[in-house]
Symmetry: C2
Subunit: 436 residues, 2 copies
């Protein structure tokens, strides 16, 4: 039997199992997925999903914009376009980023199919199997999935309420390099972190930049929530301070709508050229109609006024969640206090396991994402991510109340039977759009 003829047994479900690429070993469906399909039933309060609440969008404006786009510019809007993205939209993206102190040229930008694809393309361009990517602990589940699909080694670095801990970052770089491994970049979400709900302080921004510059280490700055802060002006991006050492990822998914799948990368010139080639290989070009629809929306509408409305809506929900947590949660439960974005990171009392508890929570009609999803290494079992972006304040209050009752029950069980031994965790699990 020759090399690529698999030994197919009748009892085997997957006839192709011997033929897949090695990278597919990192692609496994989440075991909690089935639970999420239950959690989407209306009687369950889902604090799990990361879907933005787009009910406030001006449908009449968007509807006219897409209609006119077809009628007036259909031959262009429905045709293939530039692999780098529409030049007009790239110009507008520069205006959007200026709000965070970024001075960029449209040539520096590569449009992507949501910023998820930006993470994919950057990793494709930089990472060989076995290369190290440094990420925060916890980190975005969708980015962990990409790093795993490209067979990277993920090294987590401690965070606290002010974002990543600079000394821990410095230490991690030194340790990985001392082991003779290549670090390709430090992936960070400085603003309103998903899932941690914290932001990198001003002081630490400087330190993180210094550390990475002196270590000659690229920063991959993922910033989907930067304009969704509840207090004061948007933070200056890391990219605003360093054009050569920072690759910046942006997205219209949270400031406008995710269904068009438009994000972008800003990268130094040579890297940007590679990204465009990678984009052409991946899709030929990002969706032209989506790009021009967003371009038209930005032109026709007070889009920043709309973002301000989103902020107020999310602020109200954040307030409802924090108030309910304070009122309902048992002692020894702690959580972060986000200044923007969508997420609170909650740590259970010692000895409780968020994943083991999830089926009971869903039975009690509340859902969340267990913390292990946000670690590549099985940590996080005592933690969970709670989203306040989608439900109404009343539903959030009700959901937190149900969750507190479940935690109290767990505490009683533990009191009666002793601490649970958490099962072995698989760490990262494929996210699915609902966990984005």
């Amino acid at each position: 039997m020759s090399a690529d003829v698999p030994d197919v047994r009748q009892t085997r479900l997957d006839n192709y199992v011997d033929r897949y690429a090695a990278r597919t070993k990192g692609m496994t469906a989440s075991e909690i997925r089935a639970l999420f399909s239950v959690a989407s039933r209306p009687e369950v309060v889902s604090l799990a999903g990361g879907m933005p609440n787009i009910a406030g969008l001006p449908l009449d404006v968007v509807g006219s914009a897409v209609r006119d786009l077809v009628i007036d510019h259909g031959a262009v809007a429905m045709q293939y376009g530039s692999g780098q993205g529409d030049p007009g939209l790239r110009d507008q993206i520069c205006d959007v980023m200026r709000l965070e102190g970024i001075e960029a040229h449209p040539d520096d930008i590569c449009v992507t199919v949501g910023s998820q694809q930006a993470v994919d393309l950057v990793t494709r361009v930089f990472c060989d199997p076995g290369d190290v990517v440094i990420v925060e602990a916890p980190s975005y589940v969708g980015a962990l999935g990409v790093f795993r699909a490209y067979q990277c080694e993920v090294v987590h670095v401690e965070m606290d309420d002010n974002g990543v801990v600079p000394e821990a970052l410095e230490q991690a770089i030194a340790t990985v390099r001392a082991a003779g491994k290549k670090i390709k970049f430090f992936y960070t979400i400085p603003n309103f972190h998903n899932p941690a709900g914290v932001s990198l302080s001003d002081e630490r921004r400087k330190r993180v930049l210094e550390i990475c510059q002196s270590a000659n280490l690229l920063i991959l700055e993922d910033n989907p929530y930067g304009l969704l802060g509840f207090d004061g002006e948007p933070q200056r991006a890391l990219r605003a301070e360093d054009r050569e050492g920072v690759i910046y990822l942006g997205s219209f998914s949270k400031t406008f709508a995710p269904g068009f799948r438009v994000g972008w990368v800003v990268a130094p010139h040579a890297v940007r050229e590679k990204l465009v080639l990678a984009q052409e290989s991946a899709t030929l070009c990002p969706p032209v109609f989506s790009q021009l629809a967003i371009s038209s929306y930005l032109t026709r509408h007070d889009w920043l006024g709309q973002v301000k409305q989103f902020r107020e809506m999310y602020r109200e929900r954040r307030d409802a969640m924090l108030a309910a947590l304070t009122e309902k949660m048992p002692a020894a439960t702690t959580w972060t206090k986000p200044g923007g974005g969508f997420y609170v990171w909650l740590t259970l009392p010692e000895g409780l396991d968020a994943k083991a508890m999830l089926p009971r929570a869903v039975t009690a009609r509340v859902a969340y994402v267990p913390g292990t999803a946000f670690f590549a290494d099985g940590f996080g079992s005592q933690c969970m991510r709670l989203s306040y972006c989608h439900p109404t304040p009343e539903r959030i209050t009700e959901g937190v109340s149900r969750l507190a009752a479940v935690i109290n029950e767990e505490l009683e069980l533990r009191h009666t039977f002793g601490p649970l031994r958490p099962g072995a965790s698989h760490g990262y699990e494929a996210p699915g759009p609902e966990l984005s």
Copy 2:
């Protein structure tokens, strides 16, 4: 100096050159790109581009469809969606494929960002570096780019006017396996081949299926042009005869419009599951708005009637090209006679080099794609791809006339100075959307 600190010299243009992944060695910009930007000037007749001619689309129907989609279903159409693709659209895709004899279930389908992304995801799931992919000679430039980006070894198999030569396929499989290498799939475009302009005959379809079944080799059937045949009914797809051994790729780019970037894969269940995980890692989900827009168009419009109009329009252009070639080309020039699709494959008289000739052709205000772009191994220098999809019949006639004059001049030069020695070819070059 530690492992990942590059030696950055001031004279080096790309500061990141030591940090890229090995796969980027296969990602290089085409040297003929600069010429194509000249070729896009209106005085040049471009027989190079593969952009469909969508001028005939009913803009009023599409305009109303997208407007109503926003007004009536905006909260869903602009939100994240399923990683596998919209269930309603997948159901409609089954109807589309039934025209080619395919019986599929919506669960078998994974929607992609154009069928380019389908090639990318299938390769991602199956191919490790060094794995062999068998392709036709010539083959689609965009697929060659994907195989190269995944560091596959590409083995070409001879074609003639009836498509791939079965004996050559059988021989290639045996030779590669005898060398101890793994073949992951046979990539084929059975209908109105890009760039060869030929179709696989009925008899050979059976033989190719038998050969691949007995060799236990997957077929990757890429079929963007299957409904654009000029004579009789659509051919039965290879997938129609074999559900387990064929992965089928389809696209709305040529039957509707490419700017929405919607294609699809039909794969056996286990493979489809991997593809969905790969899609979620790549983009979270394909563009929801695009999918629902196409779904609405298919419902509201006589889309198959529109495809028939496209066919007639392309037939008229094919006829114009073949007539002009017959009338103008010097002896010893040969070309294929496509029964559908967009392309004619032309072979120059012995000793002429299509790539070397291109700058002179562009100066004479006609452009084409040199044949080397469609080979991974530097072959094809005597050939070129001519597209008749976009220009008017009059422009096609004029373009062929200019091209014939350039070829005649080359023949005179050769007569005077002896045969040209073709320069070393780089083989595959990144396509760019304009070459798709």
